[in-house]
Amino acid sequence: MLKTRYGTDWLKVNFIGIEATKKSLRDIANYFGNQELIDQVEAVIAEEEARYAEDYAYYRSKLSGKTAGLYVGGSRSHHYQLLLKDFGVSTVLAGYEFAHRDDYEGREVIPSIKLDADGKNIETITVQPDPSQFRTYLTPEGAQRLKEAHPEIELNDYKGMIVDMEAGALIDDDMNQYETEELMRLVKPDIFFTGIKDKYVVQKGGTLCRQLHSYDYSGPYSCFQGAANFARDLAASLYTPVWGMIRVPWKSRPAILAHTVVGGED
């Protein structure tokens, strides 16, 4: 709407994830095309990556090959997939509670979205350009140059969550409790990310569950240091030894050695 009314370009940026943070910073610098800014961004990326390189490598070795499920709102189900991918964790299940089709499938589906009962309750706003304040930073030639030099920049566009997901991964919109439990059973992710009300349901079922609404009282998880924090917390959780002690040991032994001496010297 800002774009239509005032001409302001927009970029979908994301500072959750190492690669995502780098891309977001570079997209911003490249949009403005200011060399000093571009150099500064590269300097920041080099410095931050060097600072956390050891952490990243260590936690990648701990987390790589694990699988995750995500059920949170406000872009997090998408953004955290990128952070997980940085550490070799693949997302096998993701969903939002209050998303629209374009959040999953990208903006190209907007014209084909049919209004449902919910949608009809919300007033539709039609925005017209405001000639007195309409101003676009990039000239049409500038925009063209940017497109050619940086085809990776998705200016004024969002391609949705699905494009970043692996083939075979599941998406479930607005999961209810029953669906959550059934999907956990089917997909068996190593980690499930959701909110506080679901957390202990999932945990009682024997799967690690961390809240992504509140960083689970840790964090922050954004940018470079945040990625290291996130990986540290995840490794700490996954490798907590009691996971291996849930089973009651006297129930899983083959037979009870009744009345036999188990030690002592003869």
Binding site: P241, V248, L257, V261
Partner: protein
């Protein structure tokens, strides 16, 4: 207060600073309090037993009755035989215990008093007993004294009739009365006939009534100690402390023993319960299984506060081996595990635990060490939590580290002796207190914007 502790460490051979142990008779006295109608008797000067009673009383906040040979210069030169003879007579006459448990002190050991011969010559009233143990304080620690006094009782009293009494004997390492109560509740819930020796519950945690009793209801009875030789097995709880009394009983009566780690932590408790089943055929009831599940649930719920956190643990060998095992189960790193009690077996036992969790490169164990050293270790490479007796409080304050009081002694708090350390319940309490201490510290030092009611 300890702000002057230097970072640079020097190798010290003879000198201990802020020791992490006390003298043998304290343990002997405590073991004797675990025998019903027993009067602990310190063969030495009054100053020794005054200290022993004081430190025990300050921990348990209950009367710790004990007597002394009251050595003066004369006894110190000519030996303490006449002091013992008169002392024992007076104690039986005045306080009327059923049994007197004599332990030696530095002084009587240096003189070389032969307690065994002295006691043989005593005129002991019918139906009464006098036993002894040698507890020289220039060797070992209160833990050795505790084990030695157990051996003393067994040596004098335990017999075999040739017929089993069908009971399981349980020898715990130094335990809080709360832990002995929990142990008994496990045995009773499983329907196991047992003799717990010693058993200070009901003695050092006696209830408030309107009259003081020299000999409260608690304690292992003389008959039970006599019957130890007829027990089916001895279950020794504490691989460091109780092998000695187990060996004394086996030598005297042939009773076979099974040694287990002191049951602090999930797996140590699991082993205790499974061994009880193995020995008796009795299953573990659901009520105990439920507690186990609650403990696992709690550890998972709070794990983000303790996982990967480092700690230093100090105190008595079996107790801190158990705590070490528990913190490893919680995903913590026991960077320094230190006891003042001498014995090379201790670091080896710790090492085995470290290796089981693959943290042997990051953790160290020390025996016959002191708190000055521990403070210096922490100064050079800090920890997130300190766990140990009240003597850790100065280090915790100097270094601003969360501090969890555990073990013996804890002179600066009340009520700890009422809550267990062992079993699943005891572990729950540890988990609650360790995470609580870490979170209290966060609350105390975090910036306002991070200060939150939900954690």
């Amino acid at each position: 207060m300890l702000d002057a502790t230097p970072k640079t460490q020097f190798k010290r051979e003879a000198l201990r600073i802020n020791s992490c142990k006390t003298c043998q008779p304290v343990g002997a006295l405590y073991a004797a309090l675990g025998v019903h109608r027993c009067m602990p008797y310190s063969h030495g000067s009054q100053g020794c037993v005054a200290y022993h009673r004081t430190v025990l009383t300050r921990h348990y906040k209950d009367p710790m009755m004990a007597v002394s040979s009251s050595f003066t210069e004369g006894a110190s030169v000519f030996g303490g035989k006449s002091n013992l003879t008169t002392g024992v007579k007076n104690v039986f006459d005045i306080y009327q215990p059923d049994i007197i448990a004599v332990h030696t002190t530095c002084l009587s050991e240096v003189i070389g008093d032969d307690l065994k011969a002295f006691i043989q010559d005593l005129d002991i009233p019918e139906g009464k007993y006098v036993v002894h143990s040698n507890t020289p304080s220039f060797k070992g620690s209160h833990i050795n004294g505790y084990a030695a006094m157990m051996g003393g009782f067994i040596n004098y009293l335990s017999q075999t009739t040739g017929q089993t009494n069908g009971k399981l004997a349980v020898f715990p390492a130094w335990s809080e009365p709360s832990d002995l109560r929990l142990l008994k509740s496990y045995l009773e819930q499983m329907g196991i006939a047992y003799t717990l020796f010693p058993d200070q519950s009901g003695v050092v945690d006696a209830p408030m009534t309107d009259h003081f009793e020299y000999f409260p209801k608690g304690g292992t009875t003389i008959e039970e100690i006599q019957g130890l030789g007829d027990c089916t097995h001895v279950l020794g709880l504490g691989e460091w402390t109780v092998p000695e009394p187990c060996a004394v009983l086996e030598k005297k009566c042939g009773t076979k023993s099974i040694l287990l780690p002191y049951p602090i932590g999930i797996q140590n408790t699991d082993r205790l319960l499974m061994t009880l089943t193995d020995l008796t055929g009795k299953p573990v009831p659901y009520a105990i299984e439920e507690e186990r599940g609650q403990l696992i649930d709690l550890i998972l719920d709070q794990h983000i506060w303790t996982s990967q956190k480092s700690c230093a643990i100090f105190g008595d060998p079996d107790f801190i081996l158990g705590v070490t095992s528990l913190v490893l189960e919680m995903g913590m790193l026991p960077k320094y595990v230190l006891t003042g009690t001498p014995g090379h077996a201790f670091p080896k036992m710790c090492q085995a635990l470290f290796e089981a969790y693959g943290v042997e490169d990051q953790c160290q164990a020390f025996e016959f060490d002191d708190l000055f050293d521990l403070h210096q270790f922490i100064k050079n490479d800090p920890v997130d939590v300190l766990i140990g007796t009240n003597y850790g409080k100065q280090i915790a304050r100097a270094e601003s580290i969360p501090f969890v009081r555990a073990g013996w002694p804890v002179l600066d708090r009340y009520g700890h002796y009422l809550w267990p350390n062992i079993g699943y319940r005891g572990a729950m309490r540890f988990v609650e207190r360790i995470s609580g201490a870490i979170m209290d510290h966060v609350d105390a030092v975090c910036p306002d914007e991070d200060f939150d009611v939900v954690m």
